[in-house]
Every structure is written in C-alpha cells, then in structure tokens.
C-alpha cells in the first residue's frame, strides 16, 4: 500500500505524512491548551473569561477534513509508536473520515451556540459552569482524536487505542449535566463499553496471537484461516456490537443519548456508533473466499440480530417520550440494517465488494442524517425566529431522507434493493422495506414530539415576557436550554438538581441572586450575559442554526460528494456538482445555501455524474459486479419509485393510526417501556448478584481470617507448650540441689542398706 495513487482531484495531492500527523496531533494540541487553561484557573481566578469553545477549538477536525479531501492515498509507518505504528488512508477510510470529520466540525460549531448560556455563566464567575465547560471542551477533543485515530489506524494497537480513547473520553460528555438521568446514562454507557472493550481485547489478542498479526489486514486473514476463527469473530462481533447497538447490547444508546448535550448526542449517534461498524469491517473476514461455510453460522446470527434489532428498536422507539430517545432507537434500528448488509458479506462473500460500498455509503448517509436530526432537536427547542413553515420543512427533510424518501436515503434504499435482488435475497429485500416502515414511524414520532414541545415553549414564550425568560438563565448552569428547561420544569420532581442553591424554579431573578454567592458579580455581568446566550442570538447565521443547516445540506448532498471522494472522478465533472461543503467558508454561505439545497434535493445530478459516482463507490469491483453496481448506485428510475416509496406511505399511515390508537387505548404504554428497556430489569438483577457476590467475598475473607486465626491458635499452643517446657526446666533448675541431694541421699541410703548385708569392700 505504499505506492501513492493520485487523489481523485485535479488538485495536486498533498503529502500524506504531515497531514496525517496534523490530523491526529491538532486535537491533542488543542486539548493541551484546554488543559492549561484548566490548570491556571485555580491559580488566577480573576483571569479574564477564557472562551473555551472558540474558533480554534472548533477547528479541531479541520486537518482531518483536509486530509480526507486533499491527502494522497498511502500509508505511514512509525516504528517507535506502540508495537509498530501503521496508519493508512485509502478510499474506504477517506469516505469514513470525511463524514466523521464533517460531522464533528459542524457539531463543534453547534456546541458553541448550544452551550452559550453556560459560557456566559462561566464568564460571570460560576466555577461549576466553568468546570463543566472545561471538561466538555477537553474530552470533546480527546473523543474526536480517538475517533480519527481508529479510522486511520491499520496496526491493531493504534486501532485499539483509538477505540478505547474514544469510548472512555466520551463518558464525560454523556454525564455533562450531572443530573441523575445523566449519571444513569453514563453508568449504562460505561458498563457496556467496558464489557465491549473486554470482548474486543479478547478477540484481538486471540486473533493476533494466533496469526502473529500486527495489522488489521493480517488479522482478517488470520480469522479467515484459523481453526478457532469463528469464535474470535464472535467475540469481535459482540465487542464492536456494543458500540454499533446490536440488539441486546444496545441498552446504553437510549439511556445515554437523551441525556448528553445535543451536539454530543449528534456525534455519538452519527459518528461514534459507526466505529462499531468500522470495527466489524476491519476485523471480520468479510468477502474472503477462504471463509466459505465456516462463518455461515456467525453470518446467520448477525443477520437475525440485525433484523430483530431493526424491528424491535422501531417498536420500542415508538413508545418513547423524548425525541432524542426515539432517535437513539432509530439508530439501533438503522445499525441493524447495516449489520444485515455486513452479515451478507459473511454469507455471500462474492457479493462483498458491492455490499461493502453500500454499507459505507449507508453509514455515511445515516451518520450525517442522524446528526442533522439530533441537531434539529436542539433547534426545535431553541427555535430561531424563522417562519414556522420554513423551520418545519427543514426539520422534516432529514427525517424523510432517513426514511428513504429523499436524497441519500432514496439512493441507499435503491442500492440495497438492487444489490439484494442481484444476490438472490428477495425476501430480505422485502424485510428491509418493512424496516423502512418502522423508520418512518420513528421519524413521525420524533417530529411529533418535537412539534409538541415547540408548541409548548411557543406558548410559554407568548405568555411570559422576555424578563422572566432571562431570569431563568441562572439555572442554565445545570441545563443550558431555557426552552428544554421550561418543559423539564413540568416533570421536575424526577430530577435532583446537583446544587442545592439552584432550586429549579422559575421565580424572579432577585431571589436567585440572593441565593447565589456570586450575586453581585452576576448583576454586574447580567447585561453582558444576556447578549451572549444562545437563544437570544437570532441571526440566521448564529452558530446553532448554521451548523444544523450545513449538516443537513451535507447529509442530503452526500450522493454528490461521497462518490467524488472515494473514486477516480473526471475533473471536468466537478463543475456540475454542488459546492464542496467540506471546506466551505462561512462568508458566502447565505447565497450558497439555497443553491446547495436545490442541487442536493431537487435537481438530479447529470447522468454522467451518477455514472461516475457509481464508479467511485464501487471502484474496487471487477467484472460483473461493477456493471451490477453501476445500476445499483444511480438515482432510481421513476418507474422504480412506487416500489421504493410504499414503505414511507405505509409508515405514515401507520403513524396516524398508532398515534390515534395509542392515545386512545394505551396512554400509559410509554411508562411501561421506558428508554433503555432491558437495562432496568438487568440492573435489579445485577444488584442482587452484587449483593450475593459481596456476601461470597465476605465469606471468603472470613474463611481466610478463620484459617489465620486457627494457625495463630496453633502457634499459641506451640508457644504454650514451649512455655510449659521452660517452666519445667525452671522448676528443675530451682529444685536441682534438693533433687541432687535427694538422689545422693538415696544412693547413700542404698549403699548403706546394701552394706548392712555385706561389707562394701571386698
């Protein structure tokens, strides 16, 4: 892989090594900066408010984006790194890297707006807000770094490092708010993540040890040929399945996603879940001819788990009350569909090249669309002052795309359908269509919940003037969204606010400022802070709506730039494509918005472009597969649309029926099926087990103590025996003269007595 092929651009490719190192080092350097800011804070508390989430912070994934767009294919070897570093960039990694970095960058921009209230608080001298912000800023960067490393790594150690770093650094993002739900979500996340890490470690060690493998491709080859390869594959599937939300291991998703700050949920669900998929693609022997038959069992299990996940998550998700929980279940469902595609790679290795291209495209599509949906939840809670029709049209677009009615979703669905039919899996294709019904249901539910909240907050906004809204802001240190907080206030009893002084109520600012130790400070900075909080920033290009819009555009226009990134593409065709959003500067944005939207949604790219795209996506195909794939990734012909769109229609119909029926007949369904479904019975069970284990350990400890006591007692016995002996000796010594005298006397007496009979001398 050391030969350098030209990047798919007329632009000259940049050298790989510096870009690669910059990609991984830049987030770390920024993290170091944040760490330094954290360390000097206690020393100089009066240091002017540091803007933690500044443009430099947002720029963390930019080198990665540059690498995805400009870097040449190739690899970099670092012998000194861990067990021998080997980082690589190829077509597959390029697409993953591009959408991951894009999503991270946009979510970063969104976070700046989302956490504006907290930043204002930190600037006003609230140490807790400042601490939380510092933590968020630092671990955001670390998580990003881990995510990028796992995408670029080719050696196993770096890959595992990236995966573990991403997993553990995301924990503080989940528990950001510090509320009870957040801690439960964080616990679920951590427990399952640690279990997953354990299984991954076992699979990697076993596989790598068997084949003396140092790189992921060697590991795949080992798994394909090793005697116990199936079991290694099973461990790796389950281990990465925790991240990818395989049904049964998905429990953390619906618990962690709703409680994390919205930008963090977006990257969790959009980019980090994909790490599980990347793990499967990197370690399982997919599409290898040597695996015939032996991996069939694993393939069937994966397939079944994927399908069950797709449907079960849809059913569970519909019952959720929080839009982000619904979206989390939707992620489980969608990842189930991707898992079906991966499983087919084990069952029908000959179709894998086309399937892998589709799975990657699906991943990118889901990542960006789900990112846009998550970011949209925050938008509907802190709505910019746009006309309602525009806002809700925009909010609906990514939902339609995910349901498969628009843009990248439509292409994915068409691709899946044609591919599965080519692979003689018509039944499966039908099941996937049915799963799309479930997705439509989930999307409808999400939008309905968002709509309800938006209406509620809208009413509150009408009844209350600006002043009370402003007075809620102090509470923003525990929950940055005034709107979300207003709705949270309705079921406040469930929360335990972390600070006793911040009793969450919506009373006047005066009482709060009395209860706050920094009241004076707060009053001084009040106007300053009001100018800076997120919801008051009503410009079109405020960070939050801007980032959201860009994510949506990136998601919808994915068919255009996705293929452009991964394959050879004639330079002349780039003119027909929408602007590259990857390195879009924000200056011209207002004009380009509508263009990009039109290009991405309405007008179909020229037919040459679609041919080039399909060539790009299935670039590594040969012979018959390439022809088959070329038809697979084009835009579907009009005649195929009814076959593709009926699930959406059916889903909408079902949504209406269910919505009415549930309200009418089972209004309490939501409380029977809380987010995290199996987590709750499992927690109860594990508490019981834990108590049992504690008792067992205590029993063991007591046994050991008894054992020691017994030995000590024996030792005491021994000593006592010795004492007795010494005592006897003592007695003997004291009585010795007497004894000797007695003996002497006795002897003398004996002699005398014997002498009485005969004389002692002869």
């Amino acid at each position: 892989m050391t030969e350098l092929s030209l990047a798919p651009f007329s632009l000259a490719p940049l050298p790989l090594a510096p870009l690669l190192i910059a990609t991984l080092l830049w987030p770390l350097l920024l993290g170091l900066r944040t760490l330094l800011q954290a360390l000097i804070a206690p020393v100089r508390p009066r240091l002017s408010p540091v803007w933690l989430l500044d443009w430099l912070w947002i720029s963390a994934p930019w080198p990665a984006l540059a690498l995805a767009v400009l870097g040449a294919d190739g690899s970099l070897r670092l012998d000194a790194w861990l067990l021998g570093g080997h980082w690589e960039l190829d077509a597959q990694r390029r697409l993953l890297l591009a959408f991951t970095a894009l999503l991270w960058g946009l979510a970063g921009g969104y976070a700046r707006g989302y956490l504006a209230a907290e930043q204002a608080w930190a600037a006003a001298g609230d140490r807790d807000a400042r601490g939380r912000l510092l933590r968020f800023a630092l671990f955001w960067l670390l998580t990003l770094c881990g995510n990028l490393l796992l995408l670029l790594a080719e050696d196993i150690a770096s890959f595992y490092l990236g995966f573990a770093l991403m997993t553990f650094a995301a924990y503080p993002l989940v528990i950001h708010s510090g509320r009870r739900e957040a801690r439960i979500g964080g616990l679920a996340y951590l427990v399952l993540a640690v279990l997953g890490e354990g299984m991954i470690l076992a699979g990697l060690l076993w596989g790598a040890g068997t084949g003396s493998a140092l790189t992921l491709s060697q590991l795949r080859a080992t798994l394909a040929t090793a005697e116990m390869g199936l079991w290694m594959g099973l461990l790796l599937w389950l281990g990465f399945g925790v991240k990818a939300g395989v049904i049964g291991l998905h429990l953390w998703l619906p618990l962690a996603h709703p409680v994390a700050p919205t930008p963090a949920s977006a990257v969790l669900s959009g980019a980090m879940i994909k790490a599980g998929l990347v793990g499967w693609l990197s370690t399982l022997p997919l599409g290898m001819s040597a695996v015939d038959g032996r991996f069939e069992g694993l393939g069937l299990v994966m397939l079944a788990a994927g399908l069950i996940g797709a449907f079960a998550a849809a059913l569970l998700g519909v019952a959720q009350r929080q839009p982000k929980a619904v979206l989390a279940y939707s992620s489980v469902s969608q990842m189930g569909l991707i898992a079906v595609l991966v499983a087919l790679g084990l069952l029908q290795p000959s179709h894998w090249p086309a399937l892998s291209a589709l799975a990657l495209f699906f991943a990118a599509h889901h990542g960006l669309s789900k990112g846009a949906l998550f970011l949209g939840v925050g938008i509907s809670e802190q709505a910019p002052r746009w006309p309602a029709w525009l806002l809700w049209t925009l909010l609906t677009l990514p939902a339609l795309s995910l349901a498969g009615a628009l843009g990248s979703g439509l292409i994915t669905k068409w691709g899946a359908k044609t591919l599965l039919e080519a692979a003689n899996e018509k039944t499966l294709a039908f099941w996937l269509s049915l799963a799309a019904v479930g997705t439509t249901l989930l999307m409808a539910r999400t939008l309905w919940l968002q709509w309800k909240r938006w209406r509620e907050t809208g009413k509150m906004g009408l009844t209350s003037s600006r002043e009370p809204r402003a007075s809620q802001r102090p509470i923003a240190s525990s929950e940055p969204n005034p709107a979300a907080r207003a709705s949270d206030a309705l079921n406040m009893s469930a929360f335990k606010p972390p600070h006793a002084s911040l009793k969450l109520q919506t009373d006047l600012s005066s009482s709060i400022s009395q209860s706050q130790s920094q009241s004076q400070n707060w009053n001084q900075n009040r106007s300053h802070r009001l100018a800076l909080t997120g919801a008051d920033d009503q410009r079109l290009l405020a960070p939050m709506p801007l980032a959201w819009l860009l994510t949506m555009i990136a998601a919808l226009s994915l068919p255009c730039w996705g293929g452009w990134l991964t394959g050879d593409f004639p330079a002349g065709l780039t003119d027909g494509l929408p602007l590259d959003l990857a390195d879009e500067a924000d200056d011209k944005l207002g004009d380009d918005l509508s263009d990009g939207l039109e290009d991405g949604l309405v007008s179909e790219p020229p037919s040459e472009a679609s041919a080039g795209l399909s060539g790009g996506l299935s670039g590594d195909l040969e012979g018959m597969h390439s022809g088959q794939c070329a038809s697979g990734f084009a835009w579907p012909p009009l005649s195929a649309l009814p076959a593709l769109l009926w699930p959406v229609g059916l889903g909408l119909l079902l949504a209406v029926i269910f919505g009415w029926g549930l309200r009418r007949f089972a209004p309490r369904l939501s409380s029977w099926l809380p987010a995290g479904d199996l987590w709750w019975p499992l927690t109860a069970c594990s508490h019981w087990l834990w108590r049992l284990g504690r008792r067992l350990l205590r029993w063991l400890g007591a046994g050991q103590a008894a054992w020691i006591t017994w030995w000590n007692a024996r030792e005491r016995d021994g000593l006592r025996g010795l004492d007795t002996l010494i005592g006897a000796e003592d007695w003997l010594r004291r009585q010795l003269p007497l004894l000797l005298m007695a003996v002497a006397l006795g002897l003398a007496a004996a002699l005398l007595l014997s002498a009485a009979h005969r004389p002692p001398w002869p």
Binding site: W81, L82, A157, Y160, W206, G209, Q704
Partner: protein, 501 residues
C-alpha cells in the same frame, strides 16, 4: 575494572546507609544531599554497566566463603533489568520520602534502613548464584522490618510482626532448598542451566519437590495467593515505604527470584519438561483473579492498591509460566511496567493522605479539582493498570496475550480479560469520583488549605516524582518501539539469553 563496577554499585547504597546511621538526626541537609547523590551515582553506574554489557563487557566478582561455596556478584542482562528498575525508582522514591517525612521524627533510622533496603535489592539483582541471592534476600527482609514498623503505632508493629513471620518462614524454606540443591548439584551459578537437567531421571521427584519449596520461599515476597497475607497489612507503613514494598523492592524481589529459579536454576526447558510451568500458570491465574476480587471489596485506597499489586505482580509469574519467548518478554517488561505504574499510584495515594487527609475511597469526591496534577498522574497509573493504551500496562497485557496463544494456552486470555474488567471495575469508580463528582462544599472549603504558599497543589517534593513516573509510564507505552524502552530491553534480554538455548 570488571569486578569494581558491581561492587561500587552495591557500595554506593551500603556506604550511604552506614554514613546516614553515623550522622546526627538533625543533619537534614547533609542527609538529603547524600541520599540524592547516592541515588544518582547508582543510577549512573547501572546505566554504565548496561552500556558496557551491550558492548560485550563482562562484570563479575567472586569471594570464596568456604570450600565449594562463594559469594558471586555478576552482571547479566536479566539482573540489570531489575537493577535498573530499582535504581531508577529509588531515585524517585528517595525524593518523595524526603518530602513526605519532612519534619517527622526518626528520620535517621528511616533513611538508613531505606538505603540498606535498596542495597540488598541491588545485591539480589546482581547475585550470581543462589547462595548470594539468599543472603541479600534475607538482608532485605531484615532491613524492611524497621521501615514497616516505622510509625511505631500498635497497628504498625503488628503489621511488621506479621510481615516478619511470613518472610522469615519463607527464608527458612529457601535455606532448606538451597542446602538440598547444594548437596545435589554443588554451587549453582546462574547461567549454567544444564546442571540440574543433567542429574538424571532418578532425581526428578526430589527436584520437583525442591522447586515447590523454593517457590514457596519466593512466593511469599511475590505475594502469590495464599501467601499474600502480609502485603495488605503492611499498608500501615508510610507511603514511600509502601511504594518501595510494592513497586520496587520486596514484591519485585520475590518475582525476580522466581524468574531466576525458573530460568537460571532449573532452566526453562527443564522446568517445562518437569511440568512445573503448568502449576505456575495456575497459581498465577488464581492470584490474578483473587487479588482483583479482593481489591473490589476494599473501601480504603491503599488496601485496594495493595490487592491490586497482588493481582498485577502475578502477571510476571504468568509470563514466566508461559513457555515461549513472548511470555518471557511480557514478564520482564511487566517487571518494569508494573513498577512505574504502581509507584505512581502510591505516590498519589500518599499525596492525598498527606495533603487532604484522605484515606477512604468515598472521600475522594472532587479531588481532581483541588489536586489536578496528582489526580492526572493517578489517572494515568490507573488506566495503565486497566490496560488502556497508550499506557505501558497495555503493552504488558498484549505481550502476555500473544505469549499465551503462542504457548497454546488461549484460555489465559480469558483470565487477562477478566482481570481487565475487574481492574476497570475497581479503578474507574475512583476516577469517576476524582473528576466527575462535586467535592465537599463545592470547592476548597472542606479541605485544609494548601500547606505551602506555593503555586503547586502540594509540596514539589511530593508532586514531581509522581508526575515523573506517570510521564515515564506513558512514554514507555507510547514509544514502546524505541530502542531502550522497557519492551525493547526485555526483547533484547530474551534474544540474547534465552533464545541462545
């Protein structure tokens, strides 16, 4: 020259001990300077010997005691591994101890025995035959007793008595084994690995019995279950002593003794042929899991770390038991890695106790804000213990896993993963408390203010060694591929010594 260097290295600590005993109690500055100078000189000497050894120099010293038995000091790559570890960590521990014991009584006694302890550790590492090893091994026992009992409280005295009871019985077992081996095979120099194998089949039963007897002797210091009882009790000692016991001297001396026993007295091939290694692997696995389980139930920081040591040191024994070069590499690398990580953890635990008076785990809430640098060091150490890359613990675990598969014992991976999960289960809650829980009174309020009016969170004497060892354990993992990283050194040792067989 060739005899001078090992002697000088040994003397650098022994003479320091003697001079410190002669100095008056109040000569603090002289004592500090002497300690630091001796530690530095020793480190330089050990590095010099390592350099010479890679260039093919031979260092040996021999003093006949009686006919057929002599004191032998000889420098080989394996011994230098241990010597390097102890001299490097002694430097850090000395610095730490100076800060930790500032203003406390009986410092002359403490530092005198401290130096003596390290001198005997060095003697163990440079010993060229079993007899010399045993002499220094017993000296180590005697010189650590006053350190454990240093505080003089009834609890400390009781712990020291338990310690002495365990280690002296172990010494007795060693003595019997030594004598029996002497009778069977004469003066056994390390490096002559064929002697016992050449004794013939009729002696095998005796040799097996002697192996377990000697293992009993070394296993007490290496804290193998069920011989580990002294270690958690010895936690009452001051923090630098705990660091010394756990990371540098005592526990490692036991593990090193087992390495010598398997590789240099019996020979790895002969041990495998006698079926001794299976038992060793089994004991190690039981110890790893049992130690972790016990650590999970501890509510105080230092006992939890102590049981973690019980578990982690057995990684070394496990590596020895895995027949094959990778297992040996893992064992030797972990000897160094565990030292770096564990000493960091104990330094940090000492810092918490010294600065904030914290002993229990549930008191650690929010300490990360009050003492960020110590907590950072602790985090690095704990993540390393769990086996998170890029900290060195990952390298050990990886090599052990490789070795297990190579030795056709893939089930050992299950033990490693179980240990990883258990380590995560007892370290991650601590990290969560440190960083993500609010502290008492939302800040400094409930804790005593900083001791010194400095910018650092605690005295620099206490903070810097912890940071240095944490940094080293991070760098040693990140750049494990560099020529003189612990992993590469271990590979070199195994390449030169054991693959030559």
């Amino acid at each position: 020259m060739s005899a001078l260097l090992p002697l000088a290295t040994l003397a650098s600590s022994l003479l320091t001990a003697v001079v410190i005993f002669l100095l008056p109690e109040l000569a603090v500055r002289t004592r500090t300077a002497l300690n630091l100078a001796a530690a530095l000189i020793k480190l330089v000497l050990v590095i010099g010997m390592a350099w010479g050894l890679t260039r093919g120099q031979v260092y040996a010293f021999e003093l006949p005691v009686v006919e057929g038995l002599s004191m032998v000091l000889q420098v080989d790559a394996l011994g230098l591994t241990f010597a390097g570890l102890s001299s490097l960590l002694w430097l850090f521990t000395t610095i730490y101890a100076i800060g930790y014991l500032e203003g406390s009584p009986n410092r002359r006694r403490f530092f005198g025995f401290f130096s003596l302890c390290v001198a005997s550790t060095l003697g163990i590492s440079l010993a060229g035959n079993l007899f010399t090893l045993l002499i220094f091994y017993e000296l180590l026992t005697l010189s650590t007793y006053p350190l454990v009992a240093h505080r003089g409280t009834p609890q400390a005295l009781a712990a020291a008595t338990v310690y002495l009871r365990y280690t002296l019985s172990a010494g007795l077992a060693l003595m019997i084994g030594l004598v029996a081996l002497q009778v069977l095979a004469g003066d056994l120099r390390f490096g002559q690995r064929e002697v016992l194998a050449a004794l013939g089949a009729e002696h095998e039963a005796v040799l097996v019995a002697l192996f377990w007897l000697l293992l009993l002797g070394f296993g007490v210091k290496a804290a193998l279950v069920p011989l580990h009882g002294w270690l958690p009790r010895a936690m009452v000692a001051p923090a630098p002593v705990s660091a010394l016991l756990h990371a540098v001297a005592v526990v490692k001396a036991g593990a090193f003794g087992i390495i010598r026993l398997v590789y240099d007295v019996y020979g790895i091939g002969f041990s495998a042929a006698l079926g001794l290694l299976d038992g060793l692997v089994l004991i190690a696995c039981v110890t790893i899991v049992y130690g972790s389980l016990r650590a999970l139930t501890q509510q105080e920081l230092k006992p939890r770390l102590a049981f973690s040591t019980v578990s982690q040191v057995s990684y070394i024994v496990l590596g020895i038991g895995l027949f094959g070069p990778l297992g040996t590499i893992a064992a030797l690398a972990h000897l160094l890695h565990q030292g770096l990580m564990k000493v960091t953890l104990f330094f940090c635990a000492g810092n918490y106790a010294e600065e904030l008076g914290i002993h229990r785990i549930d008191e650690l809430d929010g300490v990360g804000r009050r003492m960020p640098l110590s907590s950072l060091a602790f985090t690095i150490g704990a993540l390393g213990m769990i086996g998170m890359p890029p900290v060195v613990g990952f390298i050990s675990k990886w090599m052990l896993g490789m070795g297990a598969v190579q030795a056709e014992r893939p089930w050992v991976i299950a033990v490693l993963v179980a240990s990883t999960l258990l380590n995560a289960a007892y370290f991650l809650p601590i990290l969560n408390r440190l960083w993500f829980r609010p502290g008492p009174g939302q800040g400094i309020g409930a804790w005593p203010a900083a001791r010194a009016p400095s910018r650092l969170e605690t005295s620099a004497w206490l903070l810097l060694p912890a940071l240095a060892t944490a940094l080293l354990s991070l760098l040693a993992g990140m750049f494990a591929g560099l020529p003189f990283s612990p992993l590469q050194w271990a590979t070199r040792v195994v390449d030169q010594t054991y693959l030559a067989l």
